[in-house]
């Protein structure tokens, strides 16, 4: 069983522009760039009839597409696919609520806030908090701080 949990989370658009990259393992900058490109290449060729899982190097990518954005989580091959697939959706629903109908531009202009949302829900490569109510309450509280 895995000791590592999530290796990285990526949000990319269809053109391959990264909207969020969160790394839970040490990679050097070149390696990160390579991973970003590989993930994009692997995920964008798949269609809706395919599974939401792809083998990737020694890991697997669990991904879901929302409009033009791909949300990808890289985990160990024996991690629970559906749990991570829904973790993505849970995260997207929080973003949607927080940014009030989230769109790609929100993630661009508020990139520094997206990191806060991620850290509330995922930490150290593990799922930290799953309750949307609790996460949003916390985000609202932080929002009110100067």
């Amino acid at each position: 069983m895995s000791l590592h949990g999530i290796r990285f989370i990526l949000i990319q658009n269809r053109a391959g522009k990264t909207r969020l990259a969160k790394w839970y393992m040490q990679f050097d900058d070149d390696e990160k760039q390579k991973l970003i490109e590989e993930v994009h290449a692997v995920v964008t060729v798949r269609d809706a009839k395919h599974t939401n899982f792809v083998e990737f190097r020694n890991f697997k990518i669990i991904y879901r597409r929302y409009a033009g954005l791909y949300f990808c989580i890289c985990v160990d091959v024996n991690d629970n696919n559906l749990a991570y697939l829904e973790a993505i959706h849970n995260f997207v629903e929080v973003l949607n609520e927080y940014f009030h109908n989230v769109c790609e531009l929100d993630l661009v202009f508020n990139f520094y806030k997206v990191y806060t949302v991620v850290d509330e829900m995922f930490l150290a490569g593990e799922i930290r908090e799953t309750s949307q109510t609790k996460v949003l309450k916390q985000l609202l509280m932080l929002q009110s701080l100067e």
Binding site: M25, N80, N81, A87, Y98, D106, N110, A124, L136, Q138
Partner: protein
């Protein structure tokens, strides 16, 4: 609910981001960024002290620029300053900048420890969380050293807020993963386990991850977590869909926490306490029951969350492998999913069933789904689903259904995706061998494989059929007859010719009685393929021919005629030429008795684990080993090789290349790695490392010459001790000093080197590509044979720098070699790398890119001088010449670059023909200097080159000529 406007709070940032987005070109973007960088720099350097807001804004802009992919070389101090602000938004940007950039500037960490310490002690939960998240995101050893002692205290303190506990638990997990030695649990253990009882589900969610990680190292210390986890799980599973409020997701109570608890339980055997076990079994049954209930929502989120728990439950049931009733129920449930309209579910059901197939309790139940799975193999649109179907067919195969499964796989192979063909071929080959009731079926299957997918039949597969045919005398006649028939197809795969050549050479006599396959017919059939085959196959056929001379004296005259033909005796290929000459002589001078002894039938091969099985495991990687284990069930099955059934412990070695050559009996000093291609087969099939490292033949030829020497010349002494077969040096390293020397699934070795005069320094970089630590990592440099006196790797002075014995997952370590060239040499030094991966020893040997031309000093000279020296070196042994076909496009610029990379100076205006290249240089060794002149004449029309080397030393001329000729 909160809704955030664009870039609220920092207008300047929003404007800047808009500007960047409006840039029409990359150049415009860079220009805008440089303008901004100049602006920020001047603000930071200005006399006026910046307020917190401006500092935050500029640091945030820098961060944005960095995330666009540009280097940031200032602003770190301002970010560190932000940490001491007591405004949340400023602190947050400071921490974010550090977490994101820390990879590129670890100096930062030392600067921020103080700020983190203050925040941890602040009793302000928001600040504490920011600090904990920063530690968790950076997770470096330095941070562990500074904070590992404080965090358990925060985690279990009675007055810590829930959100702080959540962050502290995962922060500790991260530090533990990075440096377990820094996290002393002991006194905290019991209180950490009790977090499973915490009222706050978020705290439990975080704590389970921490406990799951910690208990793997010390299962006994954390044993009490079992009963707590079971009762927590039980409360969740039996709760109504609305009981857990915040933690109910689409009518499913706490799906992620349930999954985590089920995974924690998979770290332990079934609970010993009967009451706990009873309660757990009840939970598992409840989950299985719920799967049958009508869904509470039509949303896919509902069914996904529910099924996430279901699949994890099934994993636990398989892990326990002790409740037949639950195993069969799990199998039935998965059976329903096999035909579900959701591709995800079909995929996961196939995958999960694969592990169920290996349990004796559920194997039969899995088998009932064979038709559905075969159908999936034929009709699924997603190749990864088809792949899982093939895996499952493989896993459910036994004596009762082997013929059906093998024939379905063969049929599928005709149209299979290229990506999975080789794996299907391996699977078919293994199943055919393992469950063969009669050997004729086995031989038919393998020959069919070669016919349908010859290109994907690796050497392991066809060597294996030869081993088995050689070892079983009851199948030899049938094999000879079948290959003979297969060879009659007008177009047959070269692998078929190889197998045919070997089998007829050994057992052709068994079918020679039939006039339709009389000796002359056999010979002319084989010989009709000869001219279309590669050198390796032709070499093999020549050995078949000499065997024919012994088996069928009546073919002697014909075969001698073939051997004597100019195309053989003067063949440009050394190996073919040598065989032709030697076999011709052997057949002319040796008496019948001698011939019969020398060319006797091959002895049986030693029994061992199938090399194909090893290859399949290697391909699948560590994670998938269990699906491929076949030692557990069907203990009565006999290996048709008559060998011992591999014991489960060796079969399930969780390593992609453990014992990859099946050489358990007599391990060689080092086994070549997985990707050694033909090189490792030499060792595998012929039972011992044999080839001396040599620059000459390709590994394939080396294989053939060595092994077929043993075969053809009847040398029965078996292996002679020697060096393991090293990987050949990729030819590009002759002209290049940097690059990736070796790469497989586990390890990457990069090299960087520089040479001056007769000295060199080489940096080797070993990268661990896995997530698991390599242990006992020891790379050593050896000089085979007489090389030691010629090249020294810094003997005496600073020896090869030691490399750490452990290489962490994802980490890279460096080794420095000092090299001194004492005299000219032919064979490069060998690098032998050994380590343990997941407990299994790994070893590989490869040639280091140190060739004599590395010690070349270019020499400029005028045409007149060049010709004078050229004439001085006119003795025949001083010159080496090669005429060869161009292997690459003939581009003058590329050629120039290669010659310069080779080390010589390029002399213009020397050769009267401007198309030609002329070079000069001196090989520097400690003992002597060797002057070298070279001339390369391209002939674009013929796509050929003529290369001439003149040096003052015969061996150097020839060696340089060989090295350089490979480059074009």
């Amino acid at each position: 609910m909160p809704a955030v406007s664009k870039g609220d709070g920092m207008r300047g940032l929003a404007v800047f981001i808009s500007d960047i987005r409006n840039c029409k070109s990359k150049e415009a973007e860079i220009k805008r960024i440089n303008k901004e960088l100049a602006n920020i720099r001047s603000k930071f350097k200005g006399d006026k002290a910046l307020d917190g807001y401006s500092k935050k804004k500029y640091v945030c802009k820098l961060l944005f620029i960095f995330l666009l992919g540009h280097d940031i070389d200032f602003g770190h101090m301002e970010a560190v300053n932000l940490l001491s602000s007591n405004k949340y938004t400023e602190k947050q940007i400071g921490y974010l900048f550090i977490s994101v950039l820390v990879n590129s500037n670890s100096e930062l960490i030392r600067l921020i420890n103080n700020a983190i310490k203050n925040d941890l002690a602040s009793r302000n939960p928001t600040f504490m969380c920011l600090a904990l998240h920063c530690i968790a995101n950076v997770g470096s050893r330095e941070m562990g050293e500074a904070f590992a002692a404080d965090i358990p205290r925060i985690l279990v303190a009675g007055d810590s807020m829930d959100s702080v506990k959540q962050s502290a638990a995962l922060c500790l997990l991260r530090l533990y993963k990075a440096s377990p030695d820094l996290v002393p649990m002991g006194e905290w253990t019991a209180r950490v386990v009790h977090l499973l009882n915490d009222q706050h589900m978020g705290v439990v969610t975080a704590a389970v991850s921490l406990i799951t990680c910690l208990c793997k190292k010390n299962p006994d210390d954390f044993k009490t977590c079992i009963s707590l986890a079971v009762s927590r799980l039980s409360r969740i599973v039996s709760s109504a869909s609305t009981d857990l409020q915040d933690y109910t997701y689409y009518f499913v109570p706490a799906p992620w926490l349930s999954v985590k608890l089920l995974r924690l339980l998979q770290c332990y055997p079934p609970p010993e306490d009967a009451a706990v076990k009873g309660r757990l079994v009840e939970c598992l049954e409840t989950v299985l029951n719920k799967a049958q209930e009508p869904p509470k929502s039509k949303k896919v989120q509902h069914s996904n969350a529910k099924n996430a728990i279901l699949f994890e439950t099934i994993s636990l049931i398989i892990h326990y492998d002790s409740e037949p009733n639950l195993l069969v129920r799990a199998c039935n449930q998965l059976g329903q999913f096999l035909q579900h309209r959701e591709t995800n579910l079909r995929y996961l059901a196939l995958e999960s069933m694969c592990t169920l197939a290996s349990s004796e309790f559920s194997h039969e139940a899995v088998k009932t789904h064979i038709d559905t799975v075969i159908n999936a193999l034929k009709t699924e649109r997603d190749v990864s689903v088809r792949q899982r179907a093939a895996d499952l067919l493989y896993a459910m195969c036994d004596r009762s259904n082997a013929k059906q499964i093998v024939s379905e796989m063969l049929r599928y192979l005709e149209t299979a995706d290229y990506a999975i063909r080789e794996e299907i071929v391996l699977k078919v080959a293994i199943l055919a061998e393992k469950y063969a009731v009669d050997y004729s079926w086995y031989v038919d299957t393998i020959l069919n494989l070669i016919r349908i997918a010859g290109d994907y039949v690796s050497e392991e597969v066809w060597y294996r059929v030869l081993q088995i045919v050689t070892n079983r005398d009851d199948v030899q006649g049938y094999a000879a007859k079948t290959v003979f028939e297969a060879l009659q197809a007008p177009a047959c795969h070269e692998n078929m010719v190889k197998v045919g050549g070997y089998i007829l050479g050994e057992f052709g006599n068994l079918i020679a009685g039939d006039p339709r396959s009389s000796p002359p017919v056999q010979f002319s059939l084989l010989h009709s393929k000869f001219h279309l085959c590669s050198v390796a196959t032709r070499a093999l056929l020549l050995s078949t021919y000499i065997k024919f001379i012994n088996l069928f004296p009546e073919t002697k005259a014909t075969i001698q005629g073939v051997l004597r033909a100019g195309s053989q005796l003067r063949n440009a290929d050394v190996e073919l030429q040598q065989r032709a000459v030697e076999y011709l002589t052997l057949s002319s001078v040796a008496s019948t008795d001698v011939l019969a002894t020398v060319l006797e039938e091959m002895p049986p091969f030693p029994e061992r684990e199938s090399s194909i099985l090893a290859k399949l495991k290697r391909k699948k990687g560590p994670g998938a080993a269990s699906a491929l284990d076949d030692g557990r069930r069907d203990p009565s099955s006999n290996d048709i090789n008559g060998g011992v059934e591999p014991t489960p412990s060796t079969v399930s070695t969780p390593s992609p290349s453990a014992d990859l050559l099946g050489l358990r009996a007599a391990p060689p000093p080092a086994a070549p790695p997985a990707s050694a291609g033909a090189g490792n087969l030499l060792v595998d099939v012929f039972d011992g490392p044999a080839a001396q490292p040599s620059l000459g033949p390709t590994p394939e030829e080396a294989f053939l010459s060595e092994s077929w020497e043993r075969w053809g010349r009847g040398m029965r002494t078996g292996a002679h001790p020697g060096h393991p077969v090293p990987l050949p040096l990729p030819p590009r390293f002759v002209c290049k000093n940097n690059g990736v020397l070796f790469e497989n699934q586990l390890l990457q070795i990069g090299v960087k080197s520089e040479f001056r005069q007769n000295l060199g320094r080489m940096y080797l970089f070993y990268g661990n590509k896995t997530s698991v630590q390599f242990q006992n990592f020891s790379p050593t440099v050896v000089h085979p044979g007489d090389l030691q006196t010629h090249i020294l790797s810094g003997l005496g002075q600073p020896p090869t720098k030691r490399v750490a014995a452990q290489v962490d997952g994802g980490a890279q370590v460096q080794q420095v070699l000092n090299i001194e060239c004492l005299r000219d040499f032919l064979t490069p030094p060998l690098l032998s790398v050994r380590f343990r991966y997941g407990g299994a020893p790994q070893a590989l040997t490869l040639k280091l890119p140190v060739t004599i031309n590395k010690f070349f000093q270019p020499t400029e000279m005028a045409a007149q001088d060049f010709f004078q020296r050229w004439k001085q070196l006119s003795l025949p042994q001083q010159e080496a010449q090669k005429i060869f076909k161009a292997n690459h496009p003939m581009d003058a610029e590329v050629t120039k670059a290669k010659l310069l990379g080779f080390g010589s100076a390029l002399l213009d205006n020397v050769d009267p023909n401007p198309e030609n290249f002329v070079g000069a240089g001196i090989i520097q060794t400690k003992a002597l200097q060797v002057g070298c002149l070279l001339r390369l004449e391209p002939n674009a029309q013929a796509q050929m080159y003529r290369l001439t080397l003149r040096t003052s030393k015969e061996s150097v001329s020839r060696h340089l000529c060989e090295l350089l000729a490979q480059q074009f």
